[in-house]
Each structure stands twice: as structure tokens, then as C-alpha cells.
Symmetry: C2
Subunit: 208 residues, 2 copies
DNA sequence: CGTCGCTTGTGAAAAACGTCACAAAATCTA
DNA sequence: TAGATTTTGTGACGTTTTTCACAAGCGACG
């Protein structure tokens, strides 16, 4: 029941949630920390310590009720509700993300698409019309958008971020390979695939 | 000059490399740990500690020679050469990745594309013809492929991984939302965007 | 009801990681 | 050449995160 939670704990909670969904699909009703650990590349003690930050959800001698723990993890991770998301940048990566069904199944609902290209503005993607960047502030306000998926070229990313922050955005999933400057109350997660490839080549070179 | 390097150090080295390229573009010849720290959201002591794992590259009173350190980081990260990469899964995310120029500019060269869809097999993407999964082993062998970018549905991912591992693959950038089982000499980096969105909604919910 | 087997929750110990502080090395100035 | 100035490299220190170990809680069963 502590205050500051390690980022690594959060990543593991997401894994536990996914494992619980699998286990529920197998028709099981309870699960032990040891089994969650096995499915998640961690240890039973780590599972229990992670969960203990948020309360005590298990029964000694028995384990955790799968459905109960699943619901608690949804609450902890904040995915027990719908999040309104805007996609900024209707390019190659943006179009792949827009059609990716995993977001919506976790409650991340894309309610707006923005692009600067005059050829794209006005086009329909599914039920959504692509909007120009000038409308960013009004879209955030009128649609209750809290999250941005930012998939624009690096040189446009900071400027858009500044406007989004001004309009009250709360979190940004950033695909542009730059470090966005945001005030401390705005959360940013970076997706940097080149860095991940570099981690692979480092690991391989190291052992080699 | 130590043995086991923290993953967080490797991530920061990638950032330093990117900063050095920027600094070189500005025509500067030397840089201090303090300036690298400012550009990388870390501290000067951290920069020096990170680098000290691999040797001592600076000059006291002066700092680091930009070009020299850049080249050393390229070597350390293993990107001072070309890596042959195969793209497995020519779907939505696969097509975005294939056209992403940042990979090739770091020496990650896509030399093969594989897909199981009979409609896609045989089609040309740029200069490459899409291959069927049966050819995975022979492609790895004949083209010297060391890295996979795995962009297939989750239920196909483990099976392809097993075959790739059998054929000698060394690293996998995995987009499928499952934890791949691989022997310890194979490196895996997972890209899991849903988990990153969950980290955002957790952070926002927490402060809220 | 008492005991037995199982599994949690959690302080305490250990390990990993980051920060601090300063001697040493280099340049610059005069 | 001496002294002032700058900035590295690194051991010592502090904090965070993981692992360990076990008392306590729960169900089952005779
Ligand atoms: N393609 C990939 O696989 C990939 C992977 C990881 C990261 N990224 C990053 O994602 C970003 C987009 O990459 P992409 O490959 O989709 O590029 P892209 O050129 O295909 O798409 C970018 C889109 O952003 C739009 N845009 C440009 N300026 C804008 C602005 N000011 N406001 C709104 N929209 C604007 C463009 O019109 C275009 O439609 C880049 O930063 C890239 O580095 C791409
Ligand atoms: N679309 C996204 O934005 C996105 C983002 C992150 C992760 N992912 C993940 O990436 C993977 C692919 O997603 P997608 O959206 O591109 O799906 P997709 O259906 O558009 O593409 C998948 C491709 O893989 C091919 N395929 C299927 N089985 C195969 C096999 N055994 N061997 C070779 N190829 C095979 C299919 O023919 C198809 O072309 C999924 O695991 C998904 O969860 C997708």
C-alpha cells in the first residue's frame, strides 16, 4: 500500500492482466502467484510484492480469484472505462494504428483524426473525417479527448504537443523520435523502434 | 569497464548517439557530459558512469570529441555495420515498417519479406518479392539474416519464432502481443503499444 | 475441532542502480 | 613554469527494486 510505484511494476501488471484473461478463457477460477509468475517471466515473490502495493487480493492457501483480480487490475491500470483518443498524423504508421483493434478492446476509442496534408483533410476513415491541425484545441475540448497518439514527423511533434498541452491533453503516445518537452502533469510514452533494434544489436554483439 | 550492463544504460547510449549526431550537425567538435545530460533528460554523472562501463573516451578539462565518441557508440551498440533483417508479416504494421526510412539509416537493411497469404505471396514490395513461410529457413541461411521483425498475428508468432531460432536467428523485434519462448542466446525486444497506453492511463488515473 | 498442506503478505536482506564529491588530468594565461 | 580553470573518471554513498524467508490465514479432512 505504498505511494510511488516503479514503472517496472506497471509493466508487469499489464502482463498479469493479459495472463488472467487467458486463464479465464481456459475456464479456471483461481490462480496462484506462482502460475502468474511462470506466465510472466518473473517470480512468485515479485507478483505478490507488485500486488501488495495496491492492497491484498488473494486468499492464503488458495490463491487469487481470477475474475476478481482481473477487475482489480483493470481499475488499477485505469482501463475500467473508455478513454477518448485522437490520432494525429494519418500517414503510414497512423493508418496501421487506426485499424489496430487491440486499442478499442481495452477501451481506447479513437474519436478524431488530424492531419496537415490538404489532400487528406476531409477524407473519411471509417466514420471519422480527417481534420486540419487548426482544430486540435476545439476537438480536445468538444470531444473530451484525453490522449494523443502522435504519429507525425519529428519536426512537427513539439509544436503539436505544445498546443495539445495548452488545450488540456493528459497523455501522449509519441512515435516521433524526439524527446517531447511537457509539463510534469502530462504523461508521455515514447515508441522508438530504432532504439529497440539497437538494444538487439548490442545484446547480440555483446555475447558474440 | 564492467561486465553486466543495465538495460537503462543501453537506452541512454542510444539517446547520446542521437544527440551527438545533432551536435555534429551543428558543427561542434567537442561536448561535455553536462551538455549530453541536458539533451538526454539525465545527469552529467550518469552520462560519465554510462560511458565508463566501456572505457574512457573523454579528455579532462575539455570533454569528448563529438565524432570520436559517436563512432565509439556506434561500435558499442553494434551499429557500425549492416544488419540483414527480414520482415515477417506483410500486413498493416508490416507495410508501415517496411517504408520507414529510419531503420536503413542505422544499418538495418530489409532483405526479405515473408507472408502466409496466398494473395500476397509473389507480390513485389520495392525490389523484394514476398516469400511464403516455407522459405524462412533457406532465406535466413542464404541471405545471412540475423534479425527478424515479427509482425504476424499472435497465434502464428511462436511457431515462426521456433523455426527462425532453429535456423539461427539472433534477435527478434516482436510486435505480437505474446511472450515468445526462445533460448537464452536469442535476444527479443517486445513492442507492446497497449501496455504503453496502459502505462499512460495508470499515470493519469494515479494523479487524478 | 485439531491438524495438515498450501499459499499469501510482508518485513528484512541483498542486489542493482543512480548520485555525489573529489583527485587527477588537461588546457589556458601570464 | 606556476597557478587558475575546467571537466573527466571513479570510489563511496544513498536510494530503489528485487529476492528471501517465514509467520499467519485459509480450506480440507479425518
Ligand atoms: N512508419 C513507421 O513504421 C514508423 C515507425 C515508428 C515511428 N515512426 C514515426 O512516426 C512518425 C510518422 O511516421 P510515418 O512513417 O507515418 O510518416 P508519414 O509521412 O507516412 O506520415 C506522417 C503524416 O503526418 C502528417 N503531418 C505532417 N505534419 C503534420 C502536422 N503539423 N500536423 C498534422 N499532421 C501532420 C503528414 O501529412 C502525414 O500524413 C514519424 O515521426 C516517424 O519517425 C514511423
Ligand atoms: N496494426 C498495428 O498498428 C499494430 C500495432 C502493434 C502491434 N501489432 C501486432 O502486429 C501483428 C500484425 O498486426 P497487423 O495489424 O499488421 O495485422 P494484419 O492482419 O494486417 O497483418 C498480419 C499479416 O501476417 C500475415 N500472416 C499471418 N500468418 C502468418 C504466418 N504464419 N506467416 C507469415 N505471415 C503470416 C497475414 O497474411 C497478414 O498479411 C499482430 O500481432 C498485432 O497484434 C499491430
Amino acid at each position: 500500500m505504498s505511494r510511488r510505484i516503479p514503472a517496472s511494476t506497471i509493466r508487469r501488471l499489464s502482463h498479469y492482466l493479459r495472463s488472467l484473461e487467458d486463464i479465464e478463457g481456459e475456464g479456471r477460477e483461481t490462480v496462484s502467484s506462482e502460475e502468474l509468475a511462470d506466465r510472466g517471466q518473473t517470480t512468485a515473490a515479485q507478483v505478490r510484492k507488485d500486488l501488495s502495493h495496491f492492497g491484498s487480493f488473494g486468499k492464503r492457501g488458495l490463491g487469487y480469484r481470477v475474475d476478481e483480480l482481473r477487475v482489480r487490475l483493470l481499475e488499477i491500470l485505469g482501463v475500467d472505462r473508455v478513454w477518448k483518443v485522437a490520432l494525429i498524423g494519418a500517414g503510414r504508421i497512423g493508418s496501421a494504428l487506426f485499424e489496430y483493434p487491440a486499442f478499442e478492446s481495452r477501451g481506447y476509442e479513437c474519436v478524431a483524426i488530424v492531419d496537415a496534408d490538404p489532400e487528406k483533410i476531409g477524407a473519411m476513415w471509417g466514420a471519422l473525417r480527417i481534420r486540419p491541425p487548426e482544430e486540435i484545441e476545439s476537438l480536445i475540448g468538444s470531444l473530451g479527448i484525453e490522449l494523443f497518439i502522435l504519429a507525425v514527423p519529428a519536426q512537427a511533434a513539439q509544436q503539436i504537443t505544445d498546443r495539445a498541452v495548452g488545450a488540456g491533453i493528459k497523455g501522449i503516445l509519441n512515435f516521433a523520435p524526439i524527446r517531447l518537452k511537457v509539463p510534469s502533469h502530462v504523461a508521455v510514452e515514447d515508441v522508438n523502434l530504432v532504439m529497440q533494434l539497437e538494444a538487439l544489436s548490442f545484446a547480440i554483439t555483446q555475447r558474440g
